[in-house]
Every structure is written in C-alpha cells, then in structure tokens.
C-alpha cells in the first residue's frame, strides 16, 4: 500500500549552519525552485532557535551564480571520467617519479567529517603521503597543541552550558559578539540572569569589548604576560587549589617559576602588557574570587607565533584553581569553522594520524591494521605554511585543495600563487569557479565541482564536541558530487577500490566511529563506539550529540557534556600538565620602516573569503569595502583621514584600504579584515600582507601582528556603480564589489576625473535610456540607466576624500518600480524622503537613521529600540552598536 505524499507542505530539513564553530541548528525549507527559507532550530542545543545575521541570510546564498558545475581540466570542460583519470594518472605518475610524499592535500574545516575521513585515509594510508593539512591550521591548531600539551589529548573540556552557568566570562582574543554571535547572546543572557561579569582581553576594543564590564586593551602578543601575572597572583593570594594541583597535575612549580620571571607582580604585569595597574588588579581579583570562570579564547590567541603558549598560559590558571570540567568553569576554545573539530577528530592535520591517534609505533600499527593500509605513514607531514613553502621549493609536485581558498587566507598568498604555478598537478575541489584559488593555474589544473551546503550530507562537530548532521535539502546542480565520492573514485582508479567502496556517508561515518573505538578501551578521549553500528536510518535521524560516546555508554543518545571532572587526563600518568611558557615577544617587531603592527580579523556579517556571505545583499550591507582601522593619533601622524585611502605595505605585499579612524584601535596597531579577495576587491587581499611566522609547537602562523607601513593614497574621483549583473571595473581603478538587493554594487576610486569616468561608464550601456547629472567643474557625475522604464544601472562619482553615500541609491535600485521622485533623487543624490542610513541591523535591514530616530522618539533601551523598529531583535549581533547609539546615561543604566 502506498501512502500519497502531499506536495503542498514543503519538507522542513534539520541541518547545521556552515559558518562558525558554534554549530547552530538550522531548519531549511526548500522552495522547490533551488532556494530555501531558513530558520533557527529551536531544538538544537547550540542555539535553541536563534541564528545570527550570517545564519539568517543563508537562504540568500543558495543561488548558482559562479557555481562550478562541471569538471574542468586546464580551463576546458571535461567529463568526470576524464577529470578523475587526469587526477589519478597524475598522482600515480608523480608518485612513481618523485615519491608519494611529493603529494599534498590542503583540506578545510568546512568539509564534512566523512569527506575529511576519506581524504585522510586516502592520503595517509593508501597514497602514503603525510602532507595532509588544512585551513584549520590557520584557525585553532594552537588550541589543539595547547590542549594536547596540557591534557594529553585534544579535548575541549567544557560545553556551552558552562557559558550559561559561569559567573565570570573572560574572552581572550575573541570578538565573540561578531564572530560567535549566538554564544555571545548566551553570555549576555547569563549576564542578565545571574549577573555574570564579562572581561575582554584584546588589543582592539571591539564590539565585544564595548559590551564588557572590563576591557583590557593589552599590547599585541602580551597575553602570556597577563596570564603569567594571573598565575603569580593566584599563588600569592593563596587561591591555588593545592590539593587539585597535587593530585591531578604535574609541572606547577616550573610553570609558576617561569610565570614569576615573566610577570612577578601587578606592576610588572601592567608594564609588560601596557595596561593600567588598576585594570590588571581588577581582573586578577575578579578571577581570584570567582570560582565559576570560563576563559574563552579564539583567533587572537591562536593566530600567533606564540599561540600555543598563550593557550597554555590560560589553561595553567584553570588547572591551578581546579576550575575545569565542572559546571560553569574551564578553558574554552571557540573554533571558527563549522567542522574544524571534525577535522581534528578524523586526524586530518599534518601532525596527527587519525582519530586522535598520532605517531607512536603502536598507533601507526593500529591504524594500519584497521584500514588495511598498504602505505601507512609513520610520521608527521608538513603543516600548512611549510607545505606551501615546499611547493615553492619544488618539493611538492601535486596539490589537492578542497573547499578552501588559500590564495586569500594564507599568509604571503602572493608567493603561494607563484608557487602553485610550478606544480605538476593542481586539483581544486570547489563549489565556485571564480575563487582566487580556483582561478590559479599550474602545469595541469583540474577543477572538480563539489557539493555545496544544502547539497552535501554528513556530520560536523562544533566547539563543544557536539556532532550534528548537515543534511541535504537541495538537488546538486550540474555534475557536482560529494567530496568523499570523488576521492573514492580516485582511490579506485589507483587500485584501492576495495578500501574505498563507499556508497553512503553513513557507511563512512560508521567506519570513522569504529576506528575511534578500535582498541580504545578508554585510552583515547575521542571514542564514538556507540555509533559504530548506527543504521542508515539512525544516521539520517541522528540528533546532535556530544562525544565521547563509548560503546558501553549508558545512553548512546547522550554524550558527555564535560570531561576531566574526575581529574583524570589522557597523559600516561593521567595528570594534566602545567606548561612553562616562553616570555612574550612578537615574532617580528615594528621597525622604523614598518612602524605599525597590522592585525587581521573578521567583520560581523562576513565569513572567511566571502564566497558564500558575499552573495547576500543583507550581509554585504554592513561593511561593503575593505577597510583599515587605525587610532586617531596614528592617523594624524601618517596624514590619514577617516574615509580616505591608505596603502598598507609589508615586506610581502601591499593593499589599499578605506580608512576607518577609531579609538577602538590601539596606538601603533592597525586592523584590517581578511575577507576580501581578488573576486571582491582590487587591492584588498589583506592576509597576503601577513608574514605568518608559525608557532613552533602548533605550526599556526601569526596573522595578528605583521610590521607594516602605512601612507595615504589619494584618488581624484570616488564613486559607486550599481548594476543588475556583475560588471568589471575599468583597469587601474581601485574597486570593491558588494552584493546589493537585486544587483551588484561596485565601489570605486580612480585617478580619472568625472568627465573621463562618465565617458568610460556611459559607453557600457548602449541602446539604453540615459539620465545624467554632471558638474564636472566640481568632479561630480551621476548617471541612471533605464531600459523599458526599469532602472538597470546607476552611478555616482564625486571628487574628494569620501566615497559618496549609496544607501539611497541602493534603496531605489532595489525597488521593483521607480517613482518619479526617485528618478530625480538618483541624479540629485538627495533623498526626497528620509533615507534609512547605513545598515546597522542586517537581519531586518534597519539603518542607522531609523534607529537614531527611534531613540529620539523615546526608545531608551535596546529592547525599546527593537520594539520600535525591530533592529537587534533577531540575531542581536548589532545590539552593541545600538547600545552605542543610546545616550550615554541610558547606555550606562542598561549596562
């Protein structure tokens, strides 16, 4: 008997957000036309229904623009058969000629665990190359290394509930409000409910710092001094849990001795960090007298040449006080990618073998036997920075990149582009055909179309060890395939078909779970034994669950929220280790020629290299062009003006960025976001400027402190061009591209005058109706282009320091039909009605002017502003900005 299925009600698919490591549950409702609407999953324990601005806009990122739909070899479309043959043949030839370790894989924290597992197995067990690394190297490998040094395992001890239950939250090197917004909402809730205090530690005063009870704007790279000082303070104040230290740890005395040499006193700590003594004391006292402390750390700690020591300096303080593994306390690494944790679990990094096993002979043997691997590797491979250097040296002949964009995200990326050109074989498994990485070429270049979010199916693990399903709800376009299937086919062509005869992600997951449990017996933290026999149906329906989940779990649906409550760690003696950290010093100090320190990071509404968030007009509204934050004093010294342009130069590259003068930037430092690429800007690839000195332990490159010089750049004209489809900027112009509603926005600057700009751009629209405004004597030109009464493009050019405001034009451009007054406004640049101003709330598209109007009309709190204009009522990541708009007295009352 068949049951008729109604087409009327679209199925709601539970899946997981593909952005940061919070791992929020998402309900996707496909519209049947290739798109979907998206809502938060109220049952998911990471977010309980909330989504941030980025997650909320996922539905806007599902289009097929720029999708790689077919395999390509050297720029020509080929069949899968041919492409896979090229890859397998190339790998075989290179192995024969240069040995297997001339092959490298560069993977991604956005791959699903199953894809990651197959890649790791193929490389380390069958091809026989140890050179498997991942963009997680850039993200949290220092946290991994710190965990392993302290705990003997890469274990996140706590869980998100600890954030709800803490009395003190210390955020180190983390702009949580922007980069992990949903966790920050939980923190804000804790603050409201139980009065949790928040301390931020960051050279930048970010929006997170604005929300903190205490912000410590320490000098770059001095975190270990602060936490050394804290360890000393805990010791002198008698706050060390002597019994815990004695029973469950080792190395305390040496660590304390080292700490005392680094920061023996409050005064010494203040001197070393550049902080006021009073602030140092306030923080130390708060930490000392608060038992429930969670110290969250993120890229500001990890992306450092001393990142591992920074992590251990933090963990030292938690071990000293025994504040670990208990509700509301512990060190907590917040990861930046949806499946960085999954990559760690399968062992998809160069310094791991598999499933939290490394290179002890018995571990190698165990994995070899489990895989029945003919070519098991026996030692660590090269980590990302070294791997790309080896490519440049010609040591690596074949590189397979999956799901990441190293030409934008790797330090010294210009050198990497050159290095890639020298490869014999360059394989990119990608979703988009237009990324900088997909456009790079080698002797033989193969592009393989992979499934995107919404198409792929598998699992991801978030920052609290919670494994969630990413489920498919869209049909894969063109010839796109799952990464695991692509790699299995290559393995088959190389004669390893029997070991890669996978027919489903569930099958791979079971094998992964079985390996984690294989000869484990509690010796390894990572154990999914209870899931090793999961049925296909059980896998499909699997709810989010935290590991470890050993076979004999009391309830296999329920993992463990916390580890180490029993004081037993995964070292040989089950004791945690204190680490004597190195004195803080930047790998590269500023010089007379490069007097500033360049810091890199993220903005609220973009993620990584913008290949997904860049498709969303809502997300592109918050920050539309690459920019440089600099302190007013430094701006004055270097003759930089807010809204103007600066050229930032390091020994490796230079970028030209819009200047944002802010006292949130520390004197002597500058901040630039890492998101822009050659796809989205002419001179905005900021990470290419970064030297990236690797941490000696983790290999994670320093992305937060590169000596740089800065100088003003003047352009004769600045403007914007809105078009229905993407339009390239004329050669030689500075430009940045941002998606706008119903089209594409190009922000530009040029040495051409308005007359030349008018000539250059007018000609792009032959046969269209043209309306224009020109005052060339003042360098002003505006153009509106119509076809059949519909606005198809509009342009504004102005002379001077600032780019013309485009909010009004964007609003008019987005409207389905154009009103006469708007037609006029496009030419006058003046609103006939009040514009909403620059977007503050991306979720509801609420502008600055609307919010200030609400406040002027009496909305005296964030809540009232939300009630009045909806701003801040969805993801809440704009609440800090809203609060800043409230009159100072109100903001203080609210705090």
């Amino acid at each position: 008997m068949t049951v008729p299925v109604s087409d009327a009600i679209p199925p709601v698919v539970k899946t997981t957000c593909p952005y940061c490591g919070v791992g929020c549950g998402v309900l996707a409702t496909p519209d049947g036309k290739g798109g979907a609407s998206v809502a938060g999953d109220t049952e998911h324990p990471a977010n309980f229904g909330r989504l941030c601005s980025k997650g909320s806009a996922l539905g806007e990122t599902l289009d097929l623009d720029d999708r790689l739909l077919h395999p390509m070899v050297d720029g020509a479309r080929v069949s899968w058969e041919s492409a896979l043959g090229t890859v397998a043949g190339g790998l075989r030839r290179i192995t024969e000629r240069h040995g297997p370790d001339s092959i490298a894989f560069y993977l991604s924290g956005q791959l699903l665990t199953e894809d990651y597992y197959v890649a790791n197995k193929l490389a380390k067990g069958f091809l026989g190359t140890p050179h498997v690394d991942t963009n997680s190297r850039l993200c949290m490998s220092s946290a991994v290394a710190a965990h392993r040094r302290a705990f003997g395992s890469d274990t996140v001890p706590g869980c998100y509930e600890d954030l709800d239950e803490a009395d003190l939250l210390v955020l180190v090197g983390s702009n949580t409000a922007w980069c992990h917004p949903i966790l920050f909402r939980r923190m804000a809730d804790a603050k409201a409910k139980r009065g949790t205090r928040i301390v931020t530690i960051d050279p930048r005063r970010t929006q997170t710092g604005e929300e903190a009870d205490l912000h410590l704007g320490l000098r770059p790279g001095t975190d270990t001094a602060l936490f050394s000082g804290l360890l000393v303070h805990l010791a002198t104040q008698g706050a060390v849990d002597r019994r815990y230290v004695a029973e469950h740890t080792a190395g305390f005395d040496a660590a304390l001795e080292r700490a005392q040499s680094i920061a023996p006193s409050i005064a010494a700590t203040a001197a070393a960090t550049g902080l006021p003594e009073a602030d140092v004391l306030a923080f130390f006292e708060l930490f000392t007298r608060t038992r429930r402390v969670v110290t969250c750390f993120s890229m500001g700690v990890n992306q450092s040449a001393q990142g591992t020591d920074k992590g251990n300096a933090i963990i030292n303080c938690h071990l000293a006080t025994g504040r670990i593994g208990q509700p509301g306390m512990g060190p907590f690494s917040l990861t930046g990618q949806p499946n960085a944790m999954g990559g760690r679990e399968v062992g998809g990094l160069a310094n791991m073998l598999a499933a939290h096993m490394h290179f002890a002979p018995e571990e190698v043997d165990r994995v070899r036997r489990f895989w029945d691997a003919p070519n098991i590797i026996t030692g660590e491979g090269m980590k990302a920075v070294a791997m790309f250097e080896a490519i440049a040296r010609g040591k690596i002949k074949a590189l397979w990149v999956m799901g990441t964009n190293p030409l934008v995200s790797m330090p010294r990326a210009d050198a990497i582009r050159e290095a890639i050109a020298g490869l014999d074989l360059y394989v990119v498994s990608e979703v988009l055909s237009t990324t900088d990485t997909a456009r790079a070429t080698a002797t033989k270049t193969v592009l393989l179309p992979a499934h995107a979010w919404g198409e792929k199916s598998g699992t991801v693990t978030n920052s609290e060890r919670r494994i969630s399903r990413q489920r498919s709800f869209l049909k894969a376009p063109g010839e796109a395939r799952a990464d695991w299937a692509i790699m299995s086919d290559v393995a088959n062509r190389l004669g390893h078909g029997a070991s890669f005869a996978y027919t489903s992600a569930a099958q791979i997951f079971r094998e992964h779970a079985a390996l984690s449990a294989f000869e484990n017996e509690g010796s390894r933290d990572f154990d999914l034994g209870a899931l090793a026999d999961l049925s296909d149906r059980g896998y499909d329906a699997a709810p989010p669950v935290q590991w470890p989940l050993p076979k004999r779990s009391a309830d296999p649906r329920k993992g463990r929220a916390r580890l180490f409550a029993d004081g037993r760690f995964y070292t040989f003696d089950a004791r945690a280790r204190f680490v004597a950290v190195q004195p803080p010093a930047l790998a590269l100090a500023p010089t007379a020629e490069r007097p500033m320190i360049l810091n890199t990071g993220r903005v609220r509404d973009h993620w990584h290299t913008m290949t997904r968030t860049g498709k969303s007009q809502r997300l592109s509204a918050h920050r539309a062009a690459p920019f440089l934050e600099i302190h007013p004093d430094d701006a004055a010294r270097h003759r930089l003006t807010d809204g103007g342009f600066a050229r930032v130069t390091t020994d490796h590259a230079s970028a030209i960025l819009e200047i944002a003068v802010t006292d949130g930037a520390q004197r002597g430092t500058m901040f630039a976001p890492m998101h822009w690429s050659d796809m989205t800007a002419s001179n905005g690839r900021v990470v290419a400027l970064v030297r990236g000195v690797p941490d000696p332990v983790s290999g994670q490159p320093e992305l937060k402190a590169t000596p740089a010089s800065v100088e003003p750049v003047a352009y004769r004209s600045r403007g914007y061009l809105l078009t229905r489809s993407t339009m390239p900027a004329p050669a030689g112009w500075w430009w940045a591209r941002a998606t706008v509603q119903s089209g594409s926005g190009l922000i530009f600057a040029t040495q051409d005058g308005s007359r030349e700009v008018a000539l250059a751009l007018r000609g792009l629209f032959p046969g269209h109706e043209i309306a224009e405004y020109s005052d060339h004597a003042r360098g002003l030109y505006r153009l509106a282009v119509y076809r059949d009464g519909r606005l198809t493009a509009c342009l504004a050019v102005e002379a001077g320091e600032r780019r013309p405001d485009w909010e009004l034009a964007k609003k008019i451009f987005a409207a389905p039909e154009i009103e006469a007054v708007d037609r006029r406004s496009l030419l006058s640049g003046r609103a006939q009605t009040a514009s909403a101003g620059p977007v503050i709330c991306a979720c509801h598209g609420v502008g600055l002017d609307v919010i200030t109007a609400s406040i002027a009309a009496g909305a005296g709190s964030v809540e009232k502003v939300g009630a009045a204009c909806k701003a801040g009522t969805n993801c809440g990541s704009c609440i800090p900005e809203i609060r800043k708009l409230l009159p100072a007295t109100l903001a203080r009352d609210a705090a």
């Binding site: 309306a771 009464g789 006469a820």
Partner: protein, 416 residues
C-alpha cells in the same frame, strides 16, 4: 462724479487695452483711486484678456470668457472710461488730443501708449492667400478655428513660443499639424539643444509633426492656400498656414506724432517717451535698447509707471532676460546665457525620458545662465543671482539644481 472735481483732475488717456494696460490701470487705481480721469481706448472689440491663453482657447480648453480679466463693471467702478473696438488714428501732441477715427477726440494731460506689437508676416510668395493667418488675438483664433475642420492639414511656421502653442492648440483640435522652424532647434533664443530636444519631444507627444531647419520657399494655392513648398523642394499640403515668426513693436502712431523711435517707442527709466507727458509700456516700448516681448517686464514697467504718475520715486532698470513659461503644459525657464560659452562651467541634469533638463551656466563663480525644462523650481533665485551677479556659495549649485532641502531636525535644533 461731479463736474468740478472732474475739471481738477488730470486727464489720463491710455491707448491700448491689452494685458499691460490693464495691469497698469490696476496698479494705478490701487495706489491712487480716483486721482486721474482715466480713459482707455482698445482696438480690439473686447476688454483686456489673457493673451497667454490663446493656445488654450485655440485648443478648446477654455472659452473667450475664461480668458477675460476684468468685467466692464470693474472699469466702471474705478471710474475708468473704456472704449473698445476703436483704433486710435492720431495723436495731436500740441493740443493734447487723441483722435479715435471719427468717433472720439480725447483730450489728455498725460498719455500712456500700451499699443503692443504686430505679428510679423513673412514676405513669401503666396503669403497673402486666404488661409494664411497669424496668431495674435481673438480674431486670429476665430479664423484658425474656422479653418480647422476635420481632416484639415495645418502648418505653423515658427518655432518660437507662440508658434509652438498654436501648433499644440491645432493638434488638440484634431488637425493634422506640422510645425516648421528655420533653425535646427526650437526657441533657439531661450533653449540650448538639449532643452529644445525635450520641447520638441513634448510637441511630438502632443501630435505635432516637427520639421527643423525648414526654409519655406513659397505658399501656393488656387485662390486659397493649398500647399507650402520648402526650399529643398519638399511640398507640404496645407489647408491652413499659421505664421508665427515674431512680433514687431507697434510704433506707427508714435512715429506719426514725432516721438523718438528705435525698434520701439523709446522710453527712459520712468517709461517716459521723448515727450514728458507721453509714456509707453510693454511690447511697443523700447527701454535701454530693448523691446521686450514678454509679459513679465511689461508688468514691471506698468508698476513703475503707476508709481511715477502719482509722484512716487520709481525707476525701471530693465528685466534680466528671463523666460518662464509653459510650452503646452511643459514648464520651461530660461534666463541669461543659453549656450554654454567656452571657459564657462555647466552644471547639467538631464533625464530625457522623464522630460527633465536643468542647466546652470557659471562663469568665474557667478551664475550667468539657467535653463530648466520640466521643473522650473528655483527660477526666482536663479534670476536674482544672474541679475545681481553675486558669487555662488558652495551649496548654491546643489540648491539651485535640486531645490533647497527641507529643514532637517538637526538644522532646526541648531537654529533653535
């Protein structure tokens, strides 16, 4: 009015009862009711009416009554003797007499000439054929309307304002109308090419065929106009030809009585002719070498003269050359320089499809020209700036182009 007071009053005779004449009478009687013993003599059979509405009258949008300004009762109430349908034939300066044909001899102490202008008739072969008319007054309108029967084909010669209006009026009557203009753009004295194109497009949208750079060779027909031949040989069938190629000041009367004449009747800044008791106003007058063909300077002159006659200090210093008008509903404003000279800056807003064009011409930081089509706001400020020649402030350009922005709350609070 009793005889004794009548005798003590100065006798003021106004020759002509057009728009300027009436405006003058209104101002005079407002300022000094009953001060003069006023007689007005008009050649047309009706009292002053709004000549600007002639094209609307032609198009049937309004009737003659709607064109009128003041009823006969108004003249009576203000003690003004109105004589209509009576062309003045002679002015006897020596004896202070105005002779109106054989019907009236009017003694005056002061005489105001507001006799207007005459439409120019091109001296073309066939220009005197029946069916060739001008477009100047009620009578012309009546003649045109009589010829504008169904399926009639009309040609308007002249792409000035009046020609354009005549053509639109004809088109509105359903007449197949073609407008010929000798220049390559309409209203070339007021409009640059961009503006003229917009006006041309507006005309075409109203059903008028537009032929530019069109030189008429002759008008032909057997006892009545049948066709018009262009110099390039094009033959255009026509049942009606309306000549609207300009006006010339009516100076015959003044000339005959020996007043000083240039293009028009020469007047000084008090609108006084070479005879201190005789004044001239409007299209017939020539002030500082200029004979204005527009109503606005004429009204200014009327105001000045009314004040002068009652003994107030008043002087007319000329009107900056500005045209503010509606070409068949399309607002057009032109003041000062029309075509941007070399070395001048132009600020231009041009949205042809929306019928919008605004141009400012700026020389040495001063506004020397303004040309608006479709939206003529800020015309008054432009005129003032052109007239005074003061340097433009930075925000002036935007304000003149786009209008002064509405006061924002910030501005208000700053002001407070």
């Amino acid at each position: 009015m009793d005889a004794s007071s009548a005798q003590t009053k100065e006798r003021l005779v106004v020759v002509g009862n057009g728009m300027v004449s009436l405006r003058f009478l209104e101002r005079l009687t407002e300022r000094a009711p009953g001060r003069f013993d006023v007689t007005v003599v008009g050649a047309e059979p009706v009292a002053a009416y709004n000549r600007v509405l002639l094209s609307s009258l032609l198009g049937g949008e309004v009737d003659e009554a709607a064109c009128g300004f003041r009823g006969l009762d108004w003249y009576a109430e203000h003690g003004i003797r109105l004589i209509t349908g009576a062309p003045v034939t002679t002015i006897d300066r020596e004896n202070g007499l105005v002779v109106v044909g054989e019907t009236h001899v009017l003694p005056f102490d002061r005489l105001v000439l507001a006799v207007g202008s005459l439409p120019i008739r091109l001296p073309l072969p066939g220009a005197d054929l029946p069916g060739v008319v001008t477009f100047r007054d009620f009578a012309d309108v009546a003649a045109i309307r009589a010829a504008a029967v169904e399926h009639a084909r009309a040609i308007v010669i002249g792409g000035g304002l009046l020609g354009l209006e005549a053509a639109v009026g004809l088109a509105r009557l359903g007449v197949d109308t073609t407008l010929l203009h000798v220049m390559d753009r309409v209203m070339e004295r007021q409009l640059d090419h961009n503006a003229a194109r917009l006006v041309k497009a507006a005309m075409e949208a109203r059903g008028v065929k537009m032929l530019l750079s069109a030189n008429t060779a002759c008008i032909e027909g057997d006892g009545r106009v049948e066709r018009l031949v262009l110099k390039d040989g094009t033959v255009l069938p026509a049942d009606l030809v309306v000549m609207s190629v300009g006006i010339k000041p009516s100076t015959a009367l003044a000339q005959e009585c020996g007043l000083e004449i240039g293009r028009g009747i020469k007047v000084d800044d008090r609108m006084t002719t070479s005879d201190p008791n005789i004044f001239a106003l409007g299209e017939c007058a020539e002030h500082r070498g200029i004979a204005y063909g527009l109503v606005e300077p004429a009204y200014e002159q009327a105001d000045v003269l009314s004040r002068h006659l009652i003994g107030e200090e008043a002087a007319y210093c000329g009107t900056s050359l500005a045209t503010s008008l509606k070409v068949s509903g399309l607002p057009v404003f032109s003041a000062g320089v029309v075509d941007t000279p070399d070395g001048a800056e132009a600020v231009v807003l041009h949205d042809a499809a929306a019928g919008l064009y605004r141009k400012l011409t700026i020389e040495d930081g001063r506004l020397t020209g303004a040309l608006f089509v479709g939206d003529i706001s800020e015309q008054a400020r432009c005129k003032e700036l052109i007239r005074t020649g003061v340097a433009l402030a930075a925000e002036d350009r935007d304000d003149l182009m786009f209008g002064t922005p509405a006061a924002t709350p910030t501005k208000t609070s700053l002001a407070a």
